[in-house]
């Protein structure tokens, strides 16, 4: 049972880390700011989500695990907003204002 | 009795909080009402010291050090607290006209009165604290009071002066904090009493004390780290300048004294106190000569502060007992603190006088001071008396301090410091003589139309302070301070005493004629060179190098101490 849980954790966290890497690769390779913004906000969010998912079974209690979910939800809200704000700012800049 | 220690911090701070909460016209009323109370507390502590055996201790929250924080009062605290209370009360009286309680709340009055109370609380914390970290917090309190005071007028140049001051003072605080941390890490306590029992001459102590001392020197504006002082002190409103020059810089000086004399008296070695004394000597000579070269009265007074701060640091080499290898908190230290008290009262009065002259003439250009004796006779008189008090006639605190210094130089065989003291006296006389000459000159223009009217209370407040400074030497110090019996106050009317007053004046006159700014004459090459050096030292790069260089010199001096 414990091994199964550990394997789940390892797999989920590895997947999460892979998304973080993909995000950074995107940041390096994508040609312009808007596309880089995609890489930044999407891949990293998914990465964090998977890491939280992997850590859930390692938490002491159910509520302890839910706290991690709360963290993830807040990051989601933040990056949803920031993505739009930065995209708008970029569009303004594109128009030369 | 001991609870008075707490009250001396709490009363001004509570006053500041209350004034802020109530606001409006009540701000100045609350501040003024706090003053007699604070003065009474300070006097009561000073009076209660001797019966209590020379020191009072209060354990905050009932927690004893090293875990808890203690307040301690001894003669140093009492001397500085009474001085502070007197100066603040006088400034309060003086400032009523400049910062009136109008029907509607105004920015300047609101800020000034609250800051005045806060500076009092902060200084009392400095004087009473027995804990290195509490020192840090109170140092920061002083910064947060002093900087808004500098910027109170809101002109671009005072804003800049305030920003320079803030950044440099913050640097000083952080260096001090770093040293505090290292001492805690090495000895597990921040309490001065406990620490002095544990501290040893290790490299970590040398590094910590170096950082702390240099940080505090930057805050005290000890030469050559004075880049912020002239503009800041000269740019503030008169009452604020008086606070800054008389009191705020003394706070950080006091902490250096606590650190060197009470935390590590046996670890100072020979070289480090000499270095501090040398910086003091440099301040005296450099600051005074530059005061001679100023065109504005307030700047002259500010440079005079740079010079006068130098005297305080002569206490370090002169207090060193070479045989015992430790700093003795005896007559040399007393001299340093009495000098601080005399300077506080005289300099506050001097800034007040400069402020009144500015109001009366509509400017403070030294070249155009002619006729001030008629336009603002009282202000001119106060200025003259304050200058005399700084030179030190036989009844004054400065004279008393100088006598103690000279005796200490004699008994420790360090003749060169007596030379510095004499030179300092001559230079101080020189700029006073120059000012008197200007003031007595006939007015070269019709009475200026911009002139304002000086309120009646203001000269009274300033005069009271000057008299304090002039008569400080007559106080029965022996009854109160741990002075060796051999030291006696000299007879103020003896021929020796008179001569010691007259000869610096005579030499000063000659020097004033030589060095001062004269119309239609080419300045001396040395004067120009001085001004260039001053200009460089007031820039960040040179000040930065001085700071780093001093850190390394002091560090080496302390590390090499056996």
């Amino acid at each position: 049972m414990n091994t199964a849980i550990d394997i789940f954790t390892v797999v989920a966290i590895c997947a999460g880390a892979a998304f973080f890497m993909a995000g950074s690769v995107g940041l390096l390779r994508f040609p312009d700011s808007l596309t880089r913004l995609h890489a930044l906000t999407k891949a990293d969010n998914l990465g964090l989500g998977l890491i939280v998912l992997g850590l859930l079974p390692q938490a002491d209690s159910l509520l302890g695990g839910l706290k991690l979910v709360a963290v993830w939800l807040l990051v989601q809200l933040a990056s949803a907003t920031v993505a739009q704000l930065i995209a708008q700012a970029l569009r303004h800049r594109g128009r030369g204002t | 009795m001991n609870f008075l220690l707490v009250l001396s911090l709490v009363v001004p701070i509570a006053g500041a909080l209350l004034a802020f909460g109530v606001g409006g016209r009540w701000v100045s009323r609350i501040a003024l009402a706090t003053m007699p109370l604070g003065l009474a507390i300070a006097v009561a502590i000073a009076a209660g010291l001797r019966p209590a055996g020379g020191s009072l201790v209060y354990l905050l929250g009932g927690w004893s050090p090293p875990l808890g924080v203690a307040l301690r009062a001894d003669w140093l605290s009492a001397l500085m607290m009474v001085t502070t209370a007197v100066v603040i009360s006088a400034i309060g009286l003086f400032a009523r006209a400049d910062f009136p309680a109008g029907m509607t709340e105004t920015r300047r009055s609101f800020a000034f009165w609250i800051l005045l109370l806060a500076v009092w609380g902060a200084l009392n914390t400095v004087f009473l604290s027995g804990d290195l970290f509490t020192f840090y917090v109170s140092l920061e309190l002083l910064v947060f009071v002093a900087v808004p005071l500098v910027a109170l007028d809101g002109r671009a140049e005072t804003l800049q002066a305030a920003l320079r001051y803030l950044l440099f003072a913050l640097l000083g605080s952080v260096l001090y904090l770093a040293g505090t941390g290292l001492l805690y890490g090495a000895y597990g306590t921040l309490d001065i009493g406990v620490l002095s029992g544990r501290i040893r001459g290790e490299p970590v102590t040398a590094v910590a004390v170096t950082l702390m001392t240099v940080g505090l020197m930057a805050k005290t504006a000890l030469f050559p780290l004075y880049l912020w002082l002239p503009a800041a002190h000269a740019g503030a409103p008169a009452a604020a300048s008086a606070v800054l020059s008389a009191l705020v810089v003394k706070g950080s000086f006091f902490i250096i004294v606590r650190l060197w004399f009470f935390v590590m008296p046996g670890l100072a070695g020979v070289a480090a106190p000499q270095l501090l004394g040398a910086l003091g000597a440099g301040a005296i000579v450099f600051g005074s000569l530059l005061a001679l070269r100023q065109e504005r009265l307030k700047l002259l007074v500010a440079y005079s502060t740079v010079a006068q701060l130098g005297y305080l640091f002569l206490a370090f080499p002169l207090a060193l007992d070479a045989e015992a290898g430790r700093l003795i908190d005896g007559s040399a230290l007393i001299a340093g603190l009495v000098q601080a008290a005399s300077h506080a009262t005289a300099k506050a009065a001097m800034f007040m006088a400069a402020g009144m002259i500015y109001v009366a003439l509509g400017h403070d250009r030294i070249a155009a001071l002619g006729g001030v004796v008629r336009t603002a006779p009282l202000a001119a008189l106060v200025f003259l008396l304050a200058g005399v008090a700084l030179i030190g006639p036989p009844t004054s605190g400065v004279y008393f301090a100088k006598t103690l210094f000279l005796r200490a130089a004699d008994s420790t065989h360090q003749w060169w410091w007596s030379l510095v003291l004499d030179v300092g006296g001559v230079l101080t006389s020189a700029y006073l003589v120059m000012l008197v000459a200007r003031a007595l000159a006939p007015a070269d223009q019709a009475a200026p139309s911009m002139a304002g009217i000086v309120s009646g209370q203001q000269p009274v407040a300033a005069l009271a302070l000057v008299l304090c400074s002039l008569l400080l030497g007559l106080l029965p110090w022996h009854a109160w301070l741990p002075l060796p019996l051999a030291v006696t106050t000299p007879d103020p009317l003896s021929l020796d005493a008179l001569w010691s007053l007259v000869w610096p004046l005579l030499v000063g006159m000659a020097l004033a004629a030589l060095m001062g700014r004269r119309q239609n004459q080419r300045p001396l090459r040395m004067a120009l060179w001085l001004e260039q050096a001053d200009h460089a030292l007031r820039q960040w790069p040179a000040a930065g190098f001085s700071l780093l260089g001093l850190t390394i010199m002091l560090g080496v001096a302390l590390l090499l101490t056996p």
Partner: protein, 167 residues
Amino acid sequence: MSTSSDSRAGPPVRVAVGRAALFLAFWLMSAGYQPADLPVGLLAAAAATWASLRLLPPTATRLRLSSLIMFSLHFFRQSVISGIEVARIACDPRLPLRAGFVVYRCRLRSAGERGVFCALSSLLPGTLPTGTNEDGDLLIHCLDVTRPVVASLTEEETLFTRVLRHD
């Protein structure tokens, strides 16, 4: 801020209770459950509800729970799929980017609903709302304009509209 809520007779109690329950749940999530702490949790929920009602005055919109679950499932599935998509593009040696803007005519009219929808679609990989154009249509930036972006957005909007119920 008070003006907008003053015009109403008072916030509907149901909304307040619903939000308070949500905030209490969040308290339990972040603080854990300890009976002694519960009064503080209730206080926190009350304070949060007060702030929430001032910042976001209740509207007549209600949520349908069953549709919300449906939508969430769709949303998570979609975000994983498109997350992989972004990752694939980033790591593909040929970098198959065909980035560009797509104009999307949003049927949601209320500002709040639109905000939620924009936030959700900005979380979905591949699409990024960058504001509105002169006609009030959403300008969506896409990593790959050749994909059926508008169609999938329409589907999401439909699912999203089902969650909302207007009284």
